[in-house]
C-alpha cells in the first residue's frame, strides 16, 4: 500500500492506536506483524525475499563475532553480501543484463539468447537489502553489537515506514531504538504532533507538487521532438522539482510516521537545490544512500587515502554503482557517471577556479557569488536528471539535442507553456505550492529549522491555521483519485 492511499489512511491509525495500547514489551512484535502485513499488501509472495535477507544478515551478525579468524569473519561478510546482492541482482538486474547481452550479440549478428525468467521487481528490495547489509558491516567493524533477538532484528529490516523507499537506516540508529523500546516507547505528544506535521508536509510535497508537475514533465518528455530549447529546459527543471518532491515527500512521510511512534530516523533530504557544488549536493540529497555508499563502498575502496587518481577512480565507481542502484537501465548508469564526472572535474578545476576568482577580484563570500554557485549546481543536476527521466539513453540524447535545436523564448510570453497539461489555474496552484517549499527549504538551510519545529514554535492560533491549511491543501489540491469533470455532466444526455 502506498502512503498516499486510502488503505494506508486506515492502516496507520490502527497500527498507532494498538501500538500505544498494548504493553510496551509486546510493541515490537505488533510492529513486526504490521510491517509484514504492510509489505504483503503489495505482493505476498515476495515476503520470502524479505525473510531471506533478514535471516541471512541476522545469522551473519551472530556468526561474525564467533568467527575465530579475520578470514572467517570476512567469509561470513562475503556470504551475506553475496546472497543478498545476488537476490537483488536476480530480481532487479537480470532482465537488464539479458537485454544488454542480446544487444551486444545483435551487434555481432549472433542470435539472441532467450530470457528464461520474467521477474517482477519486488517493492523496496533495493532499500531493505542495503539496510540489512549495513548491519552485517557494522557488526564486522565492531561498531554494532549483534542483535540476538530475531524478532527485533526482523523489525529493523522490515520496519514499515522505511520499507517502500527508505530512508536506508543504520543499525546503530534504528536497531538501537528498537532495543530500547521496552523502556522508552511511551507516548510523547511532541513526537506525535511533529510526526503528523511531517507526514502532512510530505503528502503536500508528493501530492500537490510532485504529482502535479509530473503532468507537465510527462507531456514535455513525451513530446520532446516537438519542443524547442525553452520547453525542454523547463521540462528538465520541472523534473528536478518533481523528483525532489516525490522522493523527499515520501521520505518525510516515512520519517513522520516513525516519529509518531517515537522513532527518530535519519534526515534524507536537506534542501538539496541550495547546494553550491555537486559534492555539497550529495551531502544534501538522499543522504541515507549517499552515506551508505560512502561508508560501505567508497571508503572500503580506499576513499581519498590512496592518491588523487585512485580517489577519482573510487568516486567514479561509487557513482556508477549508485546510478545502477537507482534503476536497471544504462541511462541511470550514465546519470550516476555524470555526477562522478562532475565531482572529478570540479575537484580538478578547483585550483583554477580559485586563481580565476582571485584574479577577477571576486568575493567568494558574497551572496551573488554563492547564488551563482547554487544556480550553476542546479543547472548541472537538472541536466543529469534528463538521463534519469528518459526511458532510454537514445531518448535522453534526443532530448538533449532538442535543448540546442530551437531557441524559442517567445513561448514564455505566448502562453503555449500552458498547453503541456497544466493550464493557468493549475500552474498557479503549483507556483504557490513551490513558493511554500522554497520558503521552508530556505528556513531549513539558513535557520536550521524544519517545518514541524517552525510550526510548533508558533502560538496556537497560527499553528492550528497552518496545520489546517496544510491538510486541506493536500485533500483539495492533491493529485489522487478520479479527475472530476463537470463537462461529463451532460444533463440532457439521458
Amino acid at each position: 500500500m502506498l502512503f498516499n492511499s486510502i488503505s494506508f489512511l486506515i492502516f496507520f491509525p490502527i497500527v498507532v492506536l494498538f501500538y500505544y495500547l498494548i504493553p510496551k514489551k509486546f510493541r515490537y512484535i505488533w510492529l513486526l506483524i504490521a510491517s509484514y502485513y504492510f509489505y504483503m499488501s503489495w505482493n505476498p509472495r515476495y515476503v520470502v525475499l524479505l525473510l531471506l535477507s533478514t535471516i541471512v544478515t541476522y545469522l551473519s551478525g551472530l556468526f561474525i563475532p564467533k568467527a575465530k579468524t579475520i578470514s572467517l569473519k570476512r567469509l561470513v561478510v562475503a556470504l551475506s553480501f553475496t546472497i543478498n546482492l545476488c537476490m537483488l541482482g536476480l530480481f532487479k538486474y537480470f532482465d537488464f543484463f539479458m537485454a544488454s547481452l542480446n544487444r551486444i550479440l545483435n551487434a555481432f549478428h549472433i542470435t539472441a539468447v532467450s530470457n528464461p525468467f520474467s521477474f517482477v521487481l519486488p517493492v523496496g528490495i533495493s532499500f531493505y537489502v542495503f539496510q540489512a547489509l549495513s548491519y552485517t558491516m557494522d557488526v564486522y567493524r565492531g561498531e554494532m553489537e549483534p542483535e540476538k533477538n530475531p524478532v527485533r532484528y526482523a523489525l529493523f529490516v522490515s520496519f514499515f515506514p522505511l520499507l517502500g523507499a527508505g530512508p536506508i537506516e543504520r543499525s546503530k540508529n534504528l536497531l538501537g531504538q528498537i532495543k530500547e523500546m521496552d523502556e522508552k516507547s511511551k507516548f510523547d505528544i511532541d513526537n506525535f504532533r511533529s510526526g503528523l506535521i511531517l507526514m502532512a508536509y510530505g503528502l503536500f510535497q508528493k501530492m500537490v507538487i510532485a504529482d502535479r508537475v509530473a503532468i507537465f514533465t510527462d507531456e514535455i518528455f513525451g513530446n520532446y521532438f516537438a519542443c524547442g530549447t525553452v520547453e525542454t529546459l523547463f521540462g528538465a527543471f520541472a523534473f528536478a522539482l518533481q523528483i525532489y518532491c516525490d522522493f523527499g515527500g515520501y521520505s518525510l512521510i516515512a520519517i513522520g510516521a516513525a516519529r509518531v511512534m517515537g522513532f527518530t530516523l535519519m534526515e534524507n533530504f536537506n534542501a538539496p537545490y541550495l547546494a553550491g557544488s555537486i559534492a555539497e549536493f550529495w551531502r544534501r540529497w538522499h543522504i541515507s544512500l549517499s552515506t551508505w555508499f560512502r561508508d560501505y563502498l567508497y571508503i572500503p575502496l580506499g576513499g581519498n587515502r590512496k592518491g588523487r587518481l585512485r580517489k577519482y577512480l573510487n568516486l567514479m565507481i561509487t557513482f556508477l554503482v549508485s546510478g545502477l542502484w537507482h534503476g536497471a537501465n544504462w541511462s541511470f548508469v550514465i546519470w550516476g557517471g555524470l555526477h562522478g564526472v562532475y565531482q572529478v572535474v570540479g575537484d580538478l578545476l578547483k585550483p583554477v577556479k580559485l586563481k580565476l576568482t582571485d584574479a577577477l577580484r571576486l568575493d567568494r563570500e558574497a551572496f551573488s557569488f554563492k547564488f551563482g554557485q547554487v544556480i550553476f549546481t542546479f543547472l548541472l543536476t537538472s541536466f543529469a536528471w534528463i538521463f534519469f527521466k528518459a526511458e532510454s539513453v537514445t531518448q535522453a540524447f534526443g532530448y538533449i539535442g532538442r535543448l540546442f535545436t530551437k531557441w524559442n523564448p517567445w513561448v514564455l510570453f505566448d502562453e503555449s507553456l500552458y498547453n503541456f497539461g497544466l493550464d493557468r489555474y493549475e500552474s498557479g496552484i503549483l507556483i504557490a505550492a513551490v513558493f511554500v517549499l522554497v520558503i521552508f527549504d530556505l528556513l531549513k538551510a539558513f535557520k536550521k529549522i524544519n517545518l514541524d519545529e517552525f510550526i510548533l514554535r508558533q502560538n496556537c492560533i497560527f499553528r492550528w491555521i497552518a496545520i489546517t491549511a496544510l491538510v486541506l491543501s493536500v485533500i483539495v489540491y492533491g493529485k489522487y483519485g478520479i479527475d472530476f469533470d463537470s463537462s461529463q455532466f451532460i444533463y440532457f444526455a439521458f
Binding site: I6, I189, D190, F192, R193, Y425, C460, R463, W464, I467, T468, V471, L472, I475, V476, Y477, G478, Y480, G481, I482, D483, F484, D485, S486, Q488, F489, I490, Y491, F492, A493, F494
Partner: protein, 466 residues
C-alpha cells in the same frame, strides 16, 4: 495544568478544528448537479418535513420531464414528489426510495421500467448523479456495493477521490443553498419547447424473459413495498422505443403482472392520454411541459380512482407544494407566452406585463422606426432612443442605467449573485454589456432585450427588436 496536558488539549482542539474544516470543505466540494443549475430532488427531499408526501415517482429523465407534481397539486391537491433524475439506474431507484422512506410514508409509489434496459449510466455524469447524491450513510454504501459496476468502488464510498477536484468548477451555490431546493418537488418545469418526433411504437413485440438482475431489482422493490406498506405501481412513461427495448420491458411487465402488481404502460395509451407526437415532445424521448401536463392529468385520475388521497391544498404544512406550483406557473407563463407576436405593440405590451423579471433594454446606434415605437411604449422617449443607453424595466417601472455617452458605466446586481456591468466603450462593442464577466452585447445597432428571471435567477432568453 502541566505543559504536556496543555499540549494534548491543544492537539485535540486542533484535530477538532481540522475535522470541522474538512466537513465544511466537503460540504462545498460534495457533488452537486452543476449542469442542472444546482437543482436537486434529493436535496429537496432532505428539506421536506416528515410524512408529508402522498405519492412518489421514480425513474429517469423520462419521468422528471413527463410527470409534474405541480399539475397534480393544481388539479386535486395531491402531494406528489418526483424523485426521478437523469439516468437514474436500478440502484438509484431502489436506494433513493429507501432514503425517501426514512422520512416519508407515501401511500403510492410509481416506478418507471426504463431502468431495466440498462445497468449503470453510460455517462460518468449520470453515474455521479446516481451514486453521489445521497448523504453518506449505510444506504449510500449499500447502493455502491450492490449496484455500481465500476472497479473503483472505494472512490465512491469515500467520495473525496471523485469530488476533490471540484475546486475547478465552484460557483455561488456551492457555498449557499439554491432557494429552489427549499420547495421544488423534483420535476423539471423549464421545458416547453416542442420537437416533432416519430409516432410512438405500439407494435406488438414478443417479450424476452426477464433477466436475473431485473428480477432481483423488482423483488427488492416489492419487498420494500411490503415492509413499508405502500401501494406499488410500475409504469412506462411515453417515449419512442425500438423493438429491442420493448421486448426487454415487455418481459419485465409480464413478471410484474404475474406478481400481481399493476403496470401502467402509458406508451400503449398515449392516444387516450391525448399526447400529440408533433407538439408534446421536446426531443425524441422526453415529453415537454404540454405533454407532461397531459400525462400528469391522466395519472392523477388513475391515482384517485385507486387511492383515496386527501386534498392537501390549504394545509400550511404543504407550503412547499404551493411554492412549487407557483414555480410551475411562472415557467409556463414565461415560456408559453413567448409565442410569436403579431405586432411590435403586442410584443411591447407583453414585455410590460411580465412580473418577476428584470428586463435589460439596450439601445445602440441608429435603430428602425419600429424600434422607436417599441421604446416609446416602454416609456423611452425618442430623444433618449436616438442618444442610446441602457435601461432596466422591472414590474412596470423603467429605470435608466446609463446614457449613450462614452465613459458612462454602471454595475447592476440581480438575483443573489449575478451582476450586469454596463458601459460605453464604443458603439457595438460586445463588452458594453457584461453578465458575470461574459460579454453579451450585440455588435449590430439594434434594441437588445435581455430577460433575467428573478425566480429562476438566470437569463432565460434574449430578443432583438428591429
Amino acid at each position: 495544568m502541566k505543559k504536556p496536558d496543555l499540549k494534548i488539549i491543544s492537539t485535540l482542539l486542533c484535530m477538532v478544528l481540522l475535522v470541522l474544516s474538512v466537513i465544511g470543505t466537503y460540504n462545498v466540494l460534495r457533488w452537486k448537479d452543476t449542469e442542472g443549475e444546482y437543482i436537486d430532488s434529493v436535496e429537496q427531499l432532505y428539506n421536506t418535513a416528515d410524512n408529508l408526501t402522498d405519492v412518489v415517482f421514480l425513474g429517469s429523465s423520462h419521468v422528471y420531464c413527463g410527470i409534474y407534481p405541480a399539475v397534480m397539486w393544481e388539479l386535486k391537491g395531491i402531494a406528489a414528489f418526483d424523485m426521478a433524475v437523469s439516468g437514474q439506474d436500478k440502484g438509484g431507484t431502489y436506494h433513493t426510495l429507501v432514503e425517501l422512506l426514512k422520512t416519508q410514508s407515501p401511500k403510492a409509489v410509481f416506478v418507471d421500467l426504463y431502468q431495466t434496459v440498462y445497468d449503470n449510466g453510460i455517462i460518468d455524469g449520470n453515474i455521479y448523479r446516481n451514486y453521489l447524491s445521497l448523504r453518506p450513510s449505510a444506504n449510500s454504501v449499500k447502493q455502491v456495493k450492490n449496484y455500481l459496476l465500476k472497479e473503483d468502488k472505494t472512490s465512491f464510498y469515500v467520495r473525496w477521490p471523485i469530488i476533490h477536484t471540484r475546486y475547478r468548477e465552484l460557483g455561488p451555490y456551492d457555498f449557499y443553498d439554491n432557494e429552489i431546493n427549499d420547495y421544488a418537488r423534483g420535476a423539471y418545469y423549464d421545458n416547453f419547447q416542442s420537437h416533432t418526433c416519430s409516432e410512438i411504437n405500439i407494435n406488438e413485440v414478443a417479450s424476452t424473459p426477464i433477466e436475473d438482475k431485473n428480477l432481483c431489482w423488482i423483488n427488492d422493490i416489492i419487498e420494500l413495498s411490503e415492509r413499508y406498506d405502500f401501494e406499488l405501481n410500475f409504469m412506462v412513461v411515453p417515449f419512442f422505443m425500438d423493438d429491442g427495448t420493448k421486448a426487454v420491458i415487455g418481459g419485465v411487465k409480464d413478471y410484474v403482472k404475474a406478481c400481481g402488481y399493476p403496470v401502467y404502460d402509458f406508451n400503449e395509451s398515449y392516444r387516450q392520454i391525448g399526447i400529440n407526437c408533433n407538439e408534446d415532445f421536446c426531443d425524441e424521448t422526453h415529453l415537454n411541459g404540454v405533454g407532461a401536463a397531459k400525462l400528469t392529468t391522466y395519472i392523477s385520475e388513475v391515482i384517485l380512482k385507486d387511492y383515496p388521497l386527501p386534498d392537501r391544498r390549504g394545509d400550511s404544512a404543504y407550503y412547499q407544494w404551493e411554492e412549487d406550483y407557483k414555480l410551475y406557473l411562472h415557467n409556463r407563463d414565461l415560456i408559453c407566452s413567448r409565442d410569436s407576436f403579431e405586432s411590435i405593440e403586442e410584443y411591447a405590451e407583453y414585455v410590460k406585463g411580465l412580473v418577476d423579471c428584470s428586463i435589460i433594454v439596450s439601445i445602440e446606434g441608429e435603430v428602425s422606426d419600429e424600434a422607436y415605437s417599441f421604446a416609446q411604449i416602454l416609456g423611452i422617449g425618442s430623444a433618449e432612443t436616438a442618444q442610446g443607453g441602457k435601461w432596466l424595466y422591472r414590474n412596470g417601472e423603467l429605470t435608466k442605467l446609463i446614457g449613450g455617452n462614452k465613459g458612462e458605466q454602471k454595475l447592476l446586481k440581480v438575483g443573489d449573485f449575478d451582476t450586469f456591468y454596463f458601459r460605453n466603450i464604443e458603439q457595438g462593442s460586445q463588452y458594453n454589456i457584461m453578465f458575470n464577466k461574459t460579454p453579451l452585447n450585440l455588435t449590430e445597432p439594434e434594441i437588445l432585450l435581455l430577460f433575467y428571471d428573478d425566480v429562476l435567477k438566470k437569463i432565460t432568453f434574449e430578443s432583438i427588436v428591429y
